[in-house]
């Protein structure tokens, strides 16, 4: 089956929905969202806890409610979407790209698109990637997979649970499983601090008296057919287990919340430049990748903490995809590279296409460690374009800094975003 659209959005989660909505409002009508699940809404559909939308809507919503705001608008705007549909590949071309997708009703589809928006989200890091020693019994789940079983299918993954990783998903599941009657015996975190929100440490772990151990990891999984327990050990400053600190904890379930990785199978397939620091596509301020007409937004670009930021970024991507289709985006060759400086792990976007901007450019970034009483500095050459005092910055909390058009115009070369200690700040 051959189809043609101006814009194809791959992924119908919060990123894809926002991009499609923005594209439609920006004047492009021919849009198709392709979603692999049976409904649009994305991972939010299983995130039944609240905390979503405080920035964007000014209200605290649950995941499904936040998703519904957007899926309702997708319906109201009459944006086409196909569910239960998997994109197999995107082939980049001159002037248009070819998206190959399948589902049980339409069969194999070859869709020509003037622009493609990649909104494919992220995946969870696995036990295999961590090389955790021990047996390979039933009862080991990534936190997201367990969350799906509990919240969508209505099944319990286990009764006595140990959770590795204190990221938000692990903390949320600690509470969820406890509420559903399981005993969460321990949340174990290899770093000396949590990558999750402090509010989640309080309301998910402390409030339920669940033990939380920092600088600890799992060194062995036990159990022939089903998990029977785990051995936990303390780790040193290099995150290596300290001999003699091992402790056996009896349990029947191990949940892994050990990191999210942008899902960029399709991006790699069409040879888009990938940033090794984010594992996502390199993008400019339009959320356009290194391939003209292929845009990306949401967790597929870099893993977010707040869906509100996903929405903001994705609205931008969709609007620009529409502008691209309408021929309104031109590169004038005045590219400025954005560099992660001291104590900054990465920036998104990775470069600014045009020195001349109509409005502010938002730069999102993450820091490498927890720093208190520091200065966020945006500089170009020897000139400091912007300096903001920060009480505390954490790796688990994405930061944003906005640059005004005149600040960008005045940049003498690359722009560097860094965290400076008070003694490093120029007089």
């Amino acid at each position: 089956m051959e189809l043609k659209y101006d814009i194809v959005v791959i992924g119908g989660g919060p990123a894809g929905m926002a991009a499609a909505i923005a594209a439609k409002k920006a004047g492009t009508d021919s849009i198709l969202i392709l979603e692999r699940d049976t409904r649009i809404g994305g991972i939010l559909l299983q995130c039944i806890h609240n905390g979503f939308g405080l920035h964007y809507f000014g209200e605290e919503l649950t995941g499904p409610e936040y998703a519904a705001r957007f899926s309702d608008e997708v319906e109201q705007l009459g944006i086409e979407y196909k569910t239960d549909t998997m994109v197999l590949e995107v082939e980049k071309g001159e002037g248009s790209h070819s998206v190959t997708a399948i589902n049980t009703v339409d069969g194999l589809m070859k869709i020509t698109a003037k622009a493609v928006v990649l909104a494919t989200g992220c995946r969870e890091r696995t036990r295999g990637a961590l090389i955790i020693p021990g047996t390979r019994p039933a009862g080991i789940f990534t936190a997201g997979a367990a969350q799906r079983f509990v919240n969508i299918d209505g099944y319990m993954p286990g009764r006595k649970v140990v959770i590795l990783g204190s990221g938000d998903i692990g903390l949320i599941m600690a509470r969820r499983l406890t509420l559903e009657g399981a005993e969460v015996k321990l949340v174990c975190e290899v770093m000396p601090f949590s990558s999750g929100l402090r509010r989640n440490i309080v309301q998910c772990v402390e409030n339920f008296n669940i033990p939380l151990k920092f600088s600890h990891t799992i060194v062995k999984i036990h159990g022939k057919e089903r998990v029977e327990g785990v051995t936990v050990a303390a780790v040193d400053s290099n995150r290596k287990p300290i001999a003699g600190t091992e402790e056996f904890i009896e349990c029947d379930t191990l949940l892994l919340s050990v990191g999210l990785i942008p899902e960029n199978e399709i991006a790699s397939g069409c040879k888009i430049a990938i940033d090794s620091a984010t594992s996502g596509p390199v993008v400019n301020e339009h959320m356009q990748s290194s391939v003209p007409g292929i845009f990306a937004c949401g967790n597929t670009v870099h893993v977010h903490d707040l869906v509100d930021f996903v929405t903001a970024e994705s609205l931008r991507a969709g609007e620009n995809a529409a502008k691209y289709v309408q021929g309104k985006i031109t590169a004038n060759g005045e590219k400025i590279i954005l560099r992660p400086g001291n104590r900054v792990r990465y920036t998104v976007p990775q470069y600014i296409e045009s020195r001349t901007q109509d409005g502010n450019v938002s730069i999102m970034f993450r820091v490498t460690d927890v720093y208190k009483d520091v200065y966020l500095e945006v500089s170009s050459g020897n000139e400091v374009l912007k300096s903001v005092r920060k009480k505390v910055v954490r790796p688990g909390e994405m930061q944003v800094v906005e640059l005004a058009p005149d600040q960008i115009k005045s940049a003498s070369g690359d722009i560097t975003v860094s965290i400076q200690l008070p003694q490093e700040v120029a007089e």
Partner: protein
Amino acid sequence: MIYDVAIIGGGIVGACIARELSKYKGQFCIIEKADDVACGTSKANSGIVHAGFDAKPGTLMAKLNVEGAAMYPELAKSLHFDYKNNGSLVIGFNDDDMEHIKKLYERGQANGVPALRVIDGEELHKLEPSVSEEACGALLAESAGIVSPYMATWAFAENAVMNGVKLFRETEVHGIEKTSDGLFTIHTGKSDIQAKCVVNAAGLYADQISAMAGARDFVIKPRRGEYYLLDNKCASLASHTLFQTPDKMGKGVLVTPTVDGNILSGPTAADGDDKTATETTAAGQDEVFIKSGKTIPDIPRRNIINSFAGVRALAYNADGTPVNDFIIEEDSEVRGFVNVAGICSPGLTAAPAIGLYVADIIEKIRVAKWEKNPDFVGVRKGIESFKDADDERRAQLIEENPLYGRIICRCEMITEGEIVAAIKSPVGAVDLDGVKRRTRAGMGRCQSGFCSPRVTEILSRELSIPMTDVRKNGGCSYILTGKTR
């Protein structure tokens, strides 16, 4: 029902013997204690079809290795399992190594290994650019190959079943009696099974089975070997199977592509007493990683997607001396009882040849010649792969079976059509690992994180069992412990 031959053990060896016997008239059965075939050593090994230069000349190992290796290409085609004739290289780093390699070459010649030659460093690096610069030469064996050992086991077992062999699953043998009329009564956890001949292909437990029958006294000791598997984006690191020569660190490890496009490295060799010990260890994983680095420097450890361990069966005589060969013989005391034991490396390679060899042994026991089974069909159609098809064929597959239009395992591009076929096939999958071994669903980068909820639903639906009864791999390996509401 009195079976002509009852085969105890549904691994690659038992499956090959069964398939061979199914060519003839008679009643045959496989008795497997796990819920599926290939649940023991057959699912966790290197997957190598060895050329045959390693086995000691004059041994059964050597003879059956070379014969078996020659049988694989044709069998892979007719029984539809993945096999690749990628060739192997034993790599040398110094003069001592090259001496050893020369000896292997001579041994290979004695064993009748075809297409074997010693090459220099230049040719080696042309063939394998990622191999260490320190490597100075190699033994090239062009007849070597790689195979998916569990797919092959399934293919042989299924063809056997299609041709009338009965497969008893989750049936553990507890005792073997020979009655005065010469018949064997096999006592199992389920019902008794009667047979004229018994073949003991019970792998790690062959010693116990032999003892049950009062036959030859030998001991099977387990040797645990750890492996790691690299993401398929690292596939270009090796095209041949790369062996090392033993050095002061002991026996080396291999680095090999797999038929599925991954890179596999291992095994270690840890001898112990626990036949069920299939755990990986931090030390073992470090050992494989460090040793593999000798062959291919700079293997990206962050691209490891999985690690596993398999246990192989080493045979020892009652006096404690190693047998150092396959034990394949009719027992001298218990007539009609055939031991097929101690089938460690090159067991996978030899298995098809073991099938022929054992069929001959049994023919002599029966005294009467085998009569051909007129209904025997030696060809098996496996499950057509969506991923391997071109766009035109993919479109057709979905038209013929809409379930091919739903991707379940996104990492390996496996469709619901293939998974349902794996469950419904004559020796069908009954649990998640069974689906994984037949379709590869769950073997990719995300290690079933995405597909396992969906595969669980499909198993529940197709087997008409509640979700809470779905297991990972038999026994009490339940995935879910209850409903929330």
